[in-house]
Symmetry: C2
Subunit: 433 residues, 2 copies
């Protein structure tokens, strides 16, 4: 089923919309009429706002309201049509969104329409939400972020794992998402492998970072660490991941948080989603020095970023523990296993051994995600928006040092506070360049 529906989307009726044709398309979808307040294309306004690497994104507004139309392009937008990418990724994104919506609807946009032929999803226009990454660059803080993200991670990961899903359902879902090959290949290559050798698409702040980049390419421990995390990425089929959970996939207001864009979804290691989010918080942390108007202007913001990483993990693990107690209906650690079906001690021993393993993965994946954003193809605006290249490179060198340390010594961190401690120590480093 996965394959045939996926292939359908690559059929000959696909067409990429523009700001005009998208109005006709949206107007023709009767299910959207009430939401937009019209069925007439002439009464709609549309603009293209996609700033990601892969897709077209339109906001289409009518007299009654607005929707977002996200359409996959048959190539990587960042690189151009020399890098084709299958349209079926919209199918996987829709399947991931609808599954996440059963677990955590309040953290997702509303889902209105899926068109597999045009590889297109119509969803809620989130307003006044903005992309979290941009707000972090601007030095803003969000008091609910850690609670929202930790809960989202725990609920989506636990509820798609063998701890909760029936075995047959989980295996079928794993098989469905196993066809998301090309998106996984992007991660496999760009995150775990290319940053560690002289790959043609790599970019870095030159010449300031030439030294650290050359060191990394001779760093056997870093290569082994990255490949070990790649092996876990490809073989550890624990839960349905978002697959690309950086701070550009999160939209926020002062009180709300929404997670978008799970087109990289597949069954992988839980630590990958958590590590992606934390790694991007640490990147934001090291970028702050580049955005300060005067030294230490952003001390509270920097500290808040570390506290958010800490709290995201602690909310994740506490929520996971609650789900472990309340929703453990899968084949793992069944209640019948214990003489006293409510054997809290036995279940708790097992839980904490499990979370210990997830934490090691979080650390390793956070490290891998940091390194790739500094010396691989795709960078982060946190760093790219620092115009002074010397200043930017200083921030990047510190982040690179932390990423490498997390990759190589991922087993040695006892808890999340150790990562904050390491970040603070590295930030005070001098003479890295």
């Amino acid at each position: 089923m996965a394959r045939s529906e996926g292939n359908l989307a690559q059929g000959r009726s696909y067409r990429a919309f523009d700001v005009d044709s998208v109005k006709d398309y949206v107007a023709a979808q009767g299910e959207l009429t009430e939401r937009l307040g019209t069925a007439a294309a002439g009464e709609l306004r549309a603009r293209e706002v996609g700033d990601g690497n892969l897709n077209l994104v339109f906001i289409v507004e009518g007299p009654g309201g607005a929707v977002v139309v996200k359409q996959a392009l048959p190539y990587v937008r960042l690189v151009g049509d020399s890098w084709p990418l299958p349209l079926k990724r919209a199918y996987f994104e829709w399947n991931a969104l609808t599954r996440q919506a059963t677990h955590q609807p309040q953290r997702l946009p509303g889902l209105f329409h899926f068109d597999p032929v045009n590889a297109l999803i119509v969803m809620e226009y989130l307003t006044p939400h903005v992309i979290l990454r941009k707000e972090l660059i601007a030095g803003k803080r969000f008091g609910h972020l850690a609670e929202h993200m930790g809960t989202f991670l725990a609920e989506t990961l636990f509820r798609s794992s063998d701890f909760c899903l029936a075995a047959a359902k989980k295996k079928a879902d794993m098989a469905l998402f196993a066809d998301n090959v090309e998106l996984c290949a992007i991660t496999e290559n760009l995150v775990f492998t290319e940053p560690y050798f002289d790959a043609p698409l790599n970019r870095w702040t030159r010449p300031q970072l030439d030294g650290p980049v050359l060191s990394l390419r001779r760093d056997r421990a870093a290569k082994v660490g990255a490949q070990e995390m790649l092996y876990r990425f490809t073989t550890k089929s624990e839960a349905l991941l978002h697959g690309d959970l950086h701070t550009g996939s999160v939209m926020v207001t002062a009180t709300d948080t929404r997670v978008i864009d799970p087109e990289f979804a597949f069954y992988g290691p839980m630590g990958f989603d958590i590590g992606a989010f934390l790694g991007n918080l640490y990147l934001a942390y090291f970028a702050q020095e580049g955005h300060e108007a005067y030294p230490d202007q952003r001390v509270p913001h920097r500290e808040w970023l570390l506290e958010t990483a800490e709290s995201t993990w602690s909310v994740f693990s506490e929520t996971f523990a609650r789900l472990w107690r309340e929703e453990r209906g899968g084949i793992l650690y069944p209640r019948t296993l214990y003489e006293d079906a409510n054997d809290e001690t036995g279940a708790t021993i097992a839980l904490h051994r499990f979370l210990h393993g997830v934490f090691e993965d979080v650390v390793g994946f956070a490290g891998a995600k940091m390194v790739r954003r500094l010396v691989g193809l795709a960078h982060v605006e946190d760093m790219e928006s620092i115009e002074d290249l010397d200043r930017r490179a200083t921030c990047e060198a510190k982040a690179l040092l932390m990423g490498r340390e997390l990759l190589v010594n991922r087993t040695t961190f006892g808890d999340i506070y150790g990562l904050s401690c390491l970040a603070r120590a590295i930030r005070r480093e001098r003479n890295l360049l």
Copy 2:
């Protein structure tokens, strides 16, 4: 494709053969005429020899030669038609056999014919081969066994892993075998879970083993160990496993070794196949005392069993290392990763870290496989054929102690020789009952 072909086999034209109808069926298969020396059912002789838990097995002989016909039954033969089991398992067995045959044809029976509707495989009649387990009980030794099994394991596991297969091919294969749900469920329940609580189908030597069985059911560390191995079984999609590689799935002569019956095949942890084989060698080791005509009659045979376990692992790891050097064509540790594409040091560091992890799994899975054969539903003839129940229970209690130790302390064994050492020490234990 997997699903539709699998479901086909459950269609209404399936019929279970008997010793008469199987002759008509075989005679009608033109591709078998030359091998049998006739196309006339009247010239064929057939007998049913299945002694496994799940299937019918016929030997059909003609004037020119013989073939084996293995047919899946729609229920678990061991339990009866109250436990239905889908016929599509023959489809997975055939797919596993044909893949293994591309890696290691000399260790498999010849493959002649697959009929998905009748869930039936026609293959080479191996003669004078006998089931390894029976020979081990009889005290026979096989000088090539470790070499053959270590090589078979390394080649089938390496060549179906991300180290060798293209990522898209591996993901598609993983998805195909993910539908082998019911056979995986047998392992998930009977190996990892039911032995550790008062499950209705559990059996053990009563009343002699009542004490150890009760202890096991109160043993939180053993439960956690078994469930942690279950979690790896369900989530660690490393390689295409045989899935049931005990000494009853191996046929031997003095010079030859063949591996049969991979109907439990799926993408799982490499250590599961290796651990299954080793665990069954250790069961054979502890059973020897029950088969001795006088004390220490079988010392050389016992020692040979331990040496075979040791050599199977060392041949596996040496062969894996050779394949790592020569056939590493997958996405993991690509040669381009290293400045010197033949960086032996970098690749070797990575290899040994990887094998260290496989070894931990081997130990844990060997332990789980031992425990389930002593106190779960399915036992081994090595123990069951010891008629004196006190004597049998003494052997079983020692094997149970070893299995539990391997499960619980699997991370603490430095190498395979430690397992032999532990086996010898436990064998000398007195007063276990």
